[in-house]
């Protein structure tokens, strides 16, 4: 299943990349100056039954603006929800929807809408490789997104996102990821995109996010770190955006089952 998806993605990538923009193409890639952002992510799992978990995320993302880095203006508010199926303790599959609020890149500028919505359908497949102490996670996420720019009069575009995240968690002060454990987590995600609008920029984002985490309790873990991302811009594949994002995440896990407490 996974192999087919990857093959399809690769083919799609090759097909899409076949047609180059008619614009002038510079001789080398252009890396844009990085901007800064601050993401505060809340990841919640609500266990509904033995096999079903409600997956909910709420991200508050700010970005630099003017002379203010990281938190110059509100960037996005992310709402991701889905129903997760626990195949077994090493593999889960989730299906749900996203509604992202994208705020004006230039607040006050009348050319921009103050906020536009971005709905998505997403599904992901996550499995884990447990070692003696180390945990390795593989997450395959697929998103089908409808988006438009904040510019007034912009049209909706449809794209598909193909995401693979490789993550490790290594507990530092405990032998396992148990309450009280600090862990080191290298985290790399490659996001590919396809769709009619994607001409020469299949690599939407490569995210490098090494961070540290702390398991406070079975219900709450925390993580923080600095992420560097880079990716091709949609309108010019030779142009790469880059940003430094400070991320602070809270991971919640609730058991909603009516059982022996």
């Amino acid at each position: 299943m996974l192999r087919k998806t990857l093959t399809y993605a690769l083919l799609l990538f090759l097909l899409q990349s076949g047609g180059l923009s008619a614009q002038e193409r510079p001789g080398s890639s252009v890396i844009e100056d990085p901007y800064t952002a601050f993401w505060q992510g809340n990841y919640a799992n609500f266990r509904l039954s033995e096999k079903l978990i409600w997956h909910g995320e709420l991200h508050l993302r700010s970005t630099d603006h003017g002379n203010t880095p990281y938190i110059g203006r509100m960037g996005k508010i992310y709402n991701r929800h889905g129903l997760k199926y626990l195949v077994n303790e090493r593999f889960t599959a989730t299906l749900g929807g996203v509604l992202r609020f994208n705020f004006s890149p230039d607040p006050g500028n009348s050319e921009y809408r103050g906020m536009v919505l971005e709905p998505r359908i997403w599904h992901q497949y996550k499995f884990v490789q447990p070692f003696d102490r180390l945990m390795v996670y593989h997450r395959f996420r697929f998103e089908h997104r409808w988006s438009r720019s904040n510019l007034k009069g912009a049209d909706w575009i449809y794209r598909n996102r193909w995401r693979y995240k490789f993550q490790m968690k290594y507990p530092l002060n405990e032998k396992k990821l148990v309450p009280g454990a600090y862990y080191l987590s290298p985290d790399v995600e490659l996001i590919l995109q396809t769709g009619d609008p994607v001409v020469d920029s299949p690599v939407e984002d490569l995210r490098l996010f090494p961070h540290v985490g702390y398991v406070y309790s079975p219900k709450l873990s925390l993580g923080a770190g600095m992420m560097y991302t880079t990716g091709q811009t949609l309108d010019a594949g030779y142009r790469y955006s880059s940003r430094w994002v400070f991320r602070f995440n809270l991971y919640w896990s609730f058991d909603m089952r009516d059982r022996d407490r």
């Binding site: 990841y43 799992n45 266990r47 978990i53 997760k84 626990l86 303790e89 090493r90 889960t92 996550k126 884990v128 447990p130 945990m135 996670y137 968690k169 396992k176 990821l177 148990v178 309450p179 398991v215 309790s217 079975p218 219900k219 873990s221 991971y251 896990s253 058991d255 022996d260 407490r261």
Partner: protein, 662 residues
């Protein structure tokens, strides 16, 4: 005409028939019995006698022979034999009779005689040669005791000879043994007359005899002849004074009375002769000699045969002093007091604990000495009572002799005694004794009563002291146990010295517990004996509680761990894909862990008290059990209340814990 024999024979024969036929017609037909026969008293042997049957009874008539023999102690033991033989005339002993008693051992090699194997013998034989007329002793009787050697009589040990006439003694009487010779005479009435002399043969040429001179049964003179010298004997109230006299047998009672009356009148004894001893020896010899005709070794002889009466004893005439009712009553009361005092002596003086205790306790040693003093006095009074109650004193004027019989009793103001190797002396208030002037039995009774009362008081005191000994012994034993427990507890609640570490609960409590018990022990040590006896058990139990608490606390961490596991749930975490333990009923468990357990520990520490330690220790168990019970119950409401509670006591109330807290 020629002499005709035929003519003579006919009248002769006719005369014969005429003479003898009635006789033969009148005479009974006797039969002979030969077989086992029992004399009176169950003496069994072989009998051979003639008898006839009249009115269904067999009547002995003619020759009678009885013999029995036995062997004592199996092989090697002596043979005993007895023979009785004589004639009966229509059931009555008549004619010569003989009694023989033998104690023989076989000697030498046996030989065959007929079909028997026969031995010679050695030993002793006793023989009474008697004669009866119409069952009454009549004629000269002898009793002889001699040794046997080689089956033949060898040496006469004793011989007594007397004449009887129709059952009465007539004399002259003579008896002799190896050491004594007695002679005397009787009146026609069978009373003693003239001199009765008992000669006591000496080893050397000295002569010694006791002489009793009687006139018609009345003792007129009594003296000792020693080497020609006369020593007068004046028995108290026994003189030749006048007064009515009664005829009494010269039996043991009379002999004793003679002895006592002289003993009471003894002054300083003459050197070389002891009149009391002499009289006693004479009495014994006379008794033996006079009874020799009717008994041997305490067994009656002639009464072994049915229908025979005792042989008469010689008679004397004495004054008789019957006991008055008052006298009897006094003697009875004295007897009761003496018996009671004897019981008290047995209870206290002969008590092994007292005997042991007097070596370790001064008071007991002293009281033992007092008892000993009383015992001596009591013994003297007992002898007095025995004498005065003796039947022989019927012949003694007790009013005249009582003063001599009643001992003078006096007591010192203080008593010496030995204790712990030291000679000591202590004053003691004895009762007033019996002064010289007292001659009445009431003085004896009163004094015995005073002794009894003091004995009872002393007895109670000894009981109290001995009880204390017992308690002290018991206390020593218990204190041994106490010290053992103390050492055990101190060892348990201390750390180091190779001992396993105390767990957290034990560590928290150890200093307080050590201090608590140290104070208890020191307080106990300062107590007096009686208080210690009262308290030792309680303290032993208290130490037991402390030891039990230690062991209970030892298990506590494990129990808490088990509870922790009960209150822990392992859940799969979807964020990290791992199983994580999470606390269930978090508020409840936190209340248990952070509020209640520390509270109970503090409560135990602050309210340590003997008798309550166990209950306080069990509080932990109560709490744990309640937590176990709540694990499976719905506790949302409870937890909400617990969360709002201000202090552990409120939580205890909310949880409805039945713990013992102060």
């Amino acid at each position: 005409m020629a002499f005709s024999l035929r003519a003579l024979l006919i009248p002769l024969f006719s005369s014969f028939l005429l003479f003898f036929l009635p006789i033969t017609l009148l005479a009974q037909e006797t039969e002979l019995y030969e077989g086992t026969f029992s004399l009176k008293g169950g003496v069994k042997g072989q009998g051979l006698y003639d008898y006839y049957v009249k009115d269904g009874d067999s009547v002995k008539d003619g020759d009678f022979r009885f013999h029995t023999s036995d062997r004592e102690g199996g092989d090697g033991g002596p043979y005993y034999g007895m023979k009785l033989s004589g004639d009966h005339d229509e059931g009555r002993m008549d004619g010569d009779w003989e009694y023989v008693h033998q104690r023989l051992l076989p000697t030498g090699e046996g030989y065959i005689q007929g079909r028997r194997i026969v031995h010679d013998s050695k030993g002793k034989e006793y023989k009474i040669s008697a004669s009866f007329e119409n069952e009454k002793a009549d004629g000269t009787w002898t009793a002889i005791h001699y040794t046997v050697e080689g089956s033949e009589p060898l040496d006469t040990l004793f011989r007594s000879r007397n004449r009887f006439d129709e059952g009465d003694l007539r004399g002259p009487f003579r008896a002799h043994s190896k050491r004594r010779v007695a002679e005397g005479d009787f009146t026609e009435e069978g009373t003693l007359k003239n001199e009765w002399r008992v000669q006591h043969l000496q080893d050397d040429e000295d002569t010694l005899a006791e002489v009793r001179d009687y006139e018609n049964g009345v003792l007129k003179e009594h003296y000792i002849l020693q080497n020609g010298d006369t020593i007068e004997l004046k028995g108290l109230s026994w003189g030749d004074e006048g007064g009515e006299r009664e005829e009494v047998p010269m039996d043991a009672k009379y002999m004793k009375a003679l002895l006592h009356s002289n003993s009471l009148n003894m002054g300083q004894k003459e050197e070389g002769v002891n009149p009391e001893e002499l009289i006693e020896n004479s009495n014994r010899f006379l008794e033996r000699s006079l009874y020799a005709f009717s008994s041997f070794n305490g067994q009656e002889v002639w009464q072994l045969l049915e229908g025979n009466e005792e042989l008469p004893l010689p008679k004397v005439r004495v004054r008789v002093f019957p006991y008055s009712a008052d006298e009897k009553e006094e003697l009875e009361r004295i007897a009761e007091l003496l018996e009671r005092n004897e019981e008290l002596f047995q209870e206290h003086y002969e008590n092994p604990q007292v005997d042991v205790g007097r070596h370790s306790n001064e008071e007991v040693s002293f009281l033992y000495e007092v008892l000993d003093r009383y015992k001596q006095g009591n013994e003297e009074l007992k002898k007095t009572h025995e004498l005065l109650s003796d039947s022989s004193f019927l012949y003694i004027d007790r009013d005249a002799v009582r003063g001599k019989l009643i001992p003078r009793v006096s007591y010192p103001d203080s008593l010496a005694f030995e204790f712990d190797g030291e000679e000591m002396r202590r004053p003691y208030e004895f009762p007033s004794g019996i002064p010289d002037s007292e001659e009445g039995l009431d003085s004896v009774r009163t004094h015995l009563k005073a002794i009894q009362e003091d004995l009872e008081r002393i007895g109670k005191e000894l009981d109290r002291i001995l009880e204390k000994f017992k308690k002290e012994d018991l206390l020593a034993e218990k204190e041994g146990e106490l010290v053992k427990r103390r050492d055990s507890l101190e060892g348990l609640y201390s750390e180091g010295n190779g001992k396993d570490t105390l767990n957290s609960y034990q560590k928290q409590l150890a200093p307080t517990i050590r201090e608590f018990y140290k104070e208890r022990f020191e307080s106990y040590a300062e107590l007096g004996l009686e208080e210690k006896i009262e308290r030792v058990d309680e303290l032993i139990t208290c130490y037991g509680e402390g030891i039990e608490l230690y062991h209970g606390l030892e298990e506590l961490p494990e129990e808490v761990k088990k509870l922790d596991e009960r209150y822990t749930r392992s859940t799969w975490n979807p964020i990290h894909f791992t199983n994580m333990d999470e606390r269930v009923k978090k508020d409840l468990y936190e209340a248990f862990e952070e509020e209640l357990m520390p509270y109970l520990v503090e409560d135990l520490k602050s309210s340590l008290e003997c008798g309550k330690i166990k209950s306080k220790g069990s509080n932990f168990g109560v709490l744990l059990q309640r937590m176990i019970d709540l694990r499976t119950q719905e506790t949302k409401v409870l937890e909400k209340r617990i969360k709002k509670a201000d202090d552990p006591e409120e939580i205890i109330s909310i949880m409805d814990l039945g713990v013992d807290i102060d």
